[in-house]
Assembly symmetry: C3
Homo-oligomer: 313 residues x 3
């Protein structure tokens, strides 16, 4: 099956077949990270630039490790050293990078649509590593891979996503993916954190966490950004934990074999109790592990991906 995308901008543009191909490719790359020599020559001589206009540990590290395990040359640019602080436009920054002939730019940006803007204008492949409150496709793909590994298939699953839906690119990308693959998606959070009209994306909205979790196969908790505390959206972390935090009693409302997910970094005791985060239903670290494999798959597929049989086997 062929992968026809030069860029990975969001899940919204993907077909169910695209998603399946990415997940299957990621599965085949997973064992590379378990070998004594964790490296295949697949992308040798390719240049990948990780441009992170917002700080990130795990996503940047995950992409960097994925690139290195494929033998690509990886270069990091962070916001603080960027020419943007000298008043350069995003397009000029991108065209300057383009002139250095990179193969792939992995970009995180605080503005929704920034990666799309570049993809339309530049030669290199763009992978969106999170754009504003819009999409975070590699996160959703690793989430879906984790669900598929634990639940066999996505179709028919009931997935509850709890938290600040409005500002969550993780939620948005997951809603797109889950809806395309036939899952029942439930969204829940304080009224100030639920965007009006979100039902149009194929999700049902719940106002009580108990109703959202009830009978779910997957409970995905979103990170509360503590800097919003005290603003109108979030009166206090204690209240948030009381009304929307995942604790063992609430978890009992889900199916007995339900799994608990979180994109990290976690605020233990706020959106998730430690006993749940560390409990035997949590698959949080499987998500991170799948992250490297999914990112290897994305880097490989946007590069053309013809030689998987030779190099990764």
């Amino acid at each position: 099956m062929a992968f026809n995308h030069k860029h990975i901008l969001g899940i919204e543009q993907m077909s169910p077949e695209d998603i399946a191909l990415i997940l299957d490719t990621a599965e085949s790359f997973k064992e590379v990270s378990l070998r004594p020599i964790k490296k295949v020559p697949t992308l040798r001589g390719k240049t990948i630039i990780n441009v992170f206009f917002e700080a990130s540990t795990r996503t940047r590290t995950s992409f960097e490790i994925a690139g290195k395990r494929l033998s690509a040359d990886t270069v990091n640019i962070s916001a603080s050293t960027s020419a943007v602080v000298k008043g350069e436009t995003l397009e000029d920054t991108a065209r300057n990078l383009e002139a250095m002939k990179p193969d792939i730019i992995v970009m995180r940006h605080s503005c929704s649509g920034a990666p799309h803007y570049l993809a339309e204008r530049c030669d290199f492949s763009v992978i969106n590593a999170g754009d504003g409150a819009h999409e975070h496709p590699s996160q959703a793909l690793l989430d879906i891979l984790t669900m598929r590994q634990h639940k066999g298939q996505i179709e028919g699953l009931t997935v509850a996503i709890i938290g600040d839906i409005t500002h969550s690119r993780v939620a948005r990308s997951n809603v797109y993916a889950l809806h395309k693959l036939g899952a029942n998606v439930r969204l829940c959070g304080p009224g100030t954190m639920l965007p009006p009209g979100i039902e149009r994306l194929g999700a049902r909205v719940f106002h009580r966490i108990e109703d959202a979790i009830h009978g779910a196969d997957v409970v995905m908790m979103l990170r509360i950004q503590q800097e919003r505390q005290g603003k109108t959206m979030l009166p206090s972390l204690r209240e948030y934990a009381m009304f929307f935090g995942l604790n063992p009693e609430r978890m009992k409302l889900a199916k007995p074999d339900a799994i608990v997910m979180h994109p990290g970094p976690m605020n233990r005791g706020v959106e998730i109790a430690s006993s749940v985060a560390d409990g035997n239903q949590n698959v949080i670290l499987h998500q991170v592990e799948n992250g490297v494999a999914v990112r290897m798959a994305l880097l490989y597929l946007v590069s053309g991906g013809e030689k998987l049989e030779d190099s990764a086997q």
Copy 2:
């Protein structure tokens, strides 16, 4: 022809033959960045440390990519993590790096002469990536290469350099190079930005941009550092644009086939109008593209450079 320089400190020390050899070597490296596998084994097992005491995206990234495409191991050190903030002298920092046996240190420093100071005292090769308001030789070399590609030869060209000449290491290195190669150099900027005595370097000084551009083959605009606005040197950006900005009308004064250059990052609407920056006379991105090739050539030549036929062909 042999290259006898262990260091690249400035254009001032170079002969016309040195410059020609660097440009020819850069030309032969350009195609490496266009290959499917953008990498030659030329500097395998060499250690290059990029020490940037001033922030930079494009120069550091360009050197890092150049080093990686030559298969060197590259290590980055930035000002904020540097021992300098703990009160160490530059010489002690350098001697500490020297003890780790690097082959090349690429250094940007806010003090003029800092790379020369190290070159006299340390074993490794030093490449000056910009020292204060003194020199930025790799920038001038990529500028000259770009002019040579578009104009055939440098001798006899009329090159107008417009902006803050006093604080521009780019201008200074270009004046040295252009004068050595037989170009006619014109410098223009507000009186506060023109150093007295600059004519001694072989340039003519103009006070009106129209006069400087008139009949020029090359118009090189310098970046205005916005942080100087409101100080005595620069009353306002609007006035600067009005009196010294490059716009389409002024560009008509140059030769019909003149090229427009800018070292970046650009302040669109200040020193250069967007219609000129994006117009068909601009070669700004050719400059950046040549930057990687020139830096590959510099890294290669200071390393001894005996094996170009074998590895880069």
Copy 3:
């Protein structure tokens, strides 16, 4: 002889045989950095993550160069980009890194015991690159290697360590190592910088620098952290230099062939006079040079270390 440690947490846990094996391995790696191609394939395909929660130039660079010369893939994470600033626990950060399947985490942390905490909980090898005021084992090992090279053996040496003993992980690791190997250790500093009970580690305490240095084979000066000046511990740098700084007159009290050491970065004119720092008894840059070799040895030994004969010879 076998090396049975998966982690390098501190000198306290090491036997004299462990230390000897590390030093011997480091000696055999030293020549790698002197080759034209400074690289052995020993750790090809291994992933090393340098996690520095405190800024550092020399230690991070030394570990990064050591990793690259062993052909490992190295990834850097610094405090400012870390998820820790988003409220994540150290254990969660570590488990996330673990899920990306690194082989070795090199960690510097401001809290004593942080590396031990991870080593108990995670799969990867941990190398302590400095934890609070506790230990800095790679520094002590390179110090001991330097002493052994200059003095033949450690047993019976008289080593004076002068400075802020209380806050120095360098001092603590050296005291452990020197005591295990049979040296006579003397500690000296202002009363506020000498922890009560330090004699239990096998050292003698001196209050006058002249007494501490008298007849010593090795004089090791510690860095004064200038930010403590004006606090209760340190009235002024001038007074410190007067009472505890190493100058040529004081150095005459040591044995004629005594060596001078400093872990860097140095405050010239404070804890050490420039004439001593640059004098012919100083071995300060030998320490740094040995640093890369010792770190190569540590990375190699915690990785299993079976193939040294094949790859490093």
